[in-house]
């Protein structure tokens, strides 16, 4: 096997090959036992490192010390909902200019962030708060028959709860949150060291939800009269796999 082949194989194992090259390589793998075993070896090494290498998460005390070490910014008064940023600057200009600024101000007020965008920010904020404070879980259980009644007893609706351990997304528990002005259920899943929060509450699909914000991936779907939002720092492809699973078998 030549050097280019080694690189090609590695890129394939790492999921870095474009689809056309991957298909071409798979055809060669099917015919070439030597290439197949080299591919297998690479996969094993990668899997062994992922499964066994220590992941050094930051100790909680260090995280607290670090936050305290960040310089304090002077606290300005809370910003108003919207401002007239150009007004002072425009004062010496004609009335026509002022009327134009007025028009722009009105347009800004109406364009405002879409509902989905606002909800996405709230679910990400909830996910981050829970991760930072290490308060991801109110009820820790991988058993859906423990988690579901716990949620039903505390919420005016009952989301379906499933464990996807078989597919590599084990259920680890649930918590309650307050999002979009109402109490919501959050099912917590793991994927390797990543946490996936699956939010659920009654309602349809909101418009204009982003797929990614602040480095977090966001996915949503609706099923059984509930809307679901999945948030994680997991890569997009695996989060999509998770959502497909949850959609099919909520």
């Amino acid at each position: 096997m030549n050097l280019d082949e080694t690189r090609l194989l590695q890129a394939y194992v790492d999921g870095e090959l474009d689809p056309a090259s991957a298909v071409a390589l798979e055809a060669r793998l099917a015919q070439n036992a030597r290439l197949r075993s080299a591919c297998e070896r690479l996969r094993e090494t990668s899997a062994a490192v992922r499964a066994n290498a220590d992941y050094h998460a930051a100790p909680a005390a260090f995280a607290a010390r670090l936050r305290a070490a960040l310089p304090d910014e002077p606290k300005a008064p809370a910003p108003r909902a919207w401002r007239w940023p150009a007004l002072g600057w425009l004062a010496p200009v004609s009335a026509l200019g002022t009327a134009f600024a007025l028009g722009a101000g009105v347009a800004i007020t109406f364009i405002g962030p879409a509902e989905g965008e606002l909800v996405a920010r709230e679910v990400i904020a909830s996910h981050v708060r829970a991760t930072l404070a290490d308060r991801l879980i109110d009820v820790a259980s991988s058993d859906q028959h423990t988690v579901k009644p716990w949620l039903s007893a505390r919420l005016p609706f009952s989301p379906s709860v499933a464990d996807y351990s078989g597919e590599g997304f084990p259920l680890v528990g649930a918590r309650l949150e307050y999002v979009a002005g109402k109490p919501v259920a959050v099912l917590v899943y793991k994927r390797r060291r990543h946490t996936i929060d699956l939010f659920a509450w009654p309602g349809g699909d909101p418009a204009g939800a982003p797929e990614e914000r602040f480095g977090f991936n966001v996915e949503r779907f609706s099923a059984g009269g509930l809307q679901y939002w999945a948030v994680s720092d997991l890569n997009r492809k695996e989060l999509e796999d998770f959502v497909r699973l949850a959609e099919r078998r909520p």
């Binding site: 096997m1 030549n2 930051a58 995280a63 670090l66 070490a69």
Partner: protein, 178 residues
């Protein structure tokens, strides 16, 4: 309109603190010491805070670039021997005897020691790829090397690991008999 000053710290915490574990993990693997890792990460965060307004795109690779540079500066100052030039030559898999990899049966502690023993330049690409799940492109940006070098260093790192695991596993039965 520039966001109000008071938002800056909130935005920083919201966007970057979630990646503190990734920052700490990288620094811990590169300095191989908890106290030094914390010093380096704290310095990197203060630096990130200062340059936060220059953040474009995803926060995680941006932060890890700063952490990585802080780590290498620290290594240069405190462990210069660890940054000796490395053999960048990519390995020809032909030279590789097709025995089954020992990694499957290996001991967790031994694997961690084998990773810690890799040259820093190999260790960083391996940690970024396998523990942080970053793409070649992001790793290239963080380590400031071409993608081709990411690929050859990753191949070297994996090969060195496989080899050291094979040595360890062939030595293991002897230790049992002692």
């Amino acid at each position: 309109m520039a966001p109000p000053v008071t938002d800056r710290r909130d935005r920083f915490e919201q966007q970057l603190l979630p990646h503190l574990d990734a920052a700490h993990n990288l620094a811990r693997w590169l300095t191989r010491n908890e106290a030094d890792a914390q010093d380096v990460v704290q310095e990197a965060f203060l630096r990130a805070y200062r340059f936060f307004d220059g953040l474009r795109g995803e926060p995680r690779p941006w932060l890890l670039t700063i952490v990585r540079n802080a780590c290498f500066t620290w290594l240069q100052r405190n462990r210069p021997a660890e940054l000796a030039p490395i053999d960048e030559e990519i390995i020809d898999e032909n030279a590789h005897s097709p025995e089954a990899l020992a990694a499957r049966s290996l001991d967790r502690r031994m694997l961690n020691e084998a990773i810690a023993a890799l040259p820093a330049q190999f260790r960083e690409v391996l940690v970024l790829r396998e523990l942080e799940d970053l793409s070649y492109k992001d790793i290239a940006r963080i380590a400031d090397i071409p993608i081709g070098t990411v690929m050859s260093r990753l191949a070297r790192a994996r090969r060195l690991l496989t080899d050291s695991m094979r040595v360890i596993s062939s030595a293991a039965p002897l230790q049992v008999q002692e």
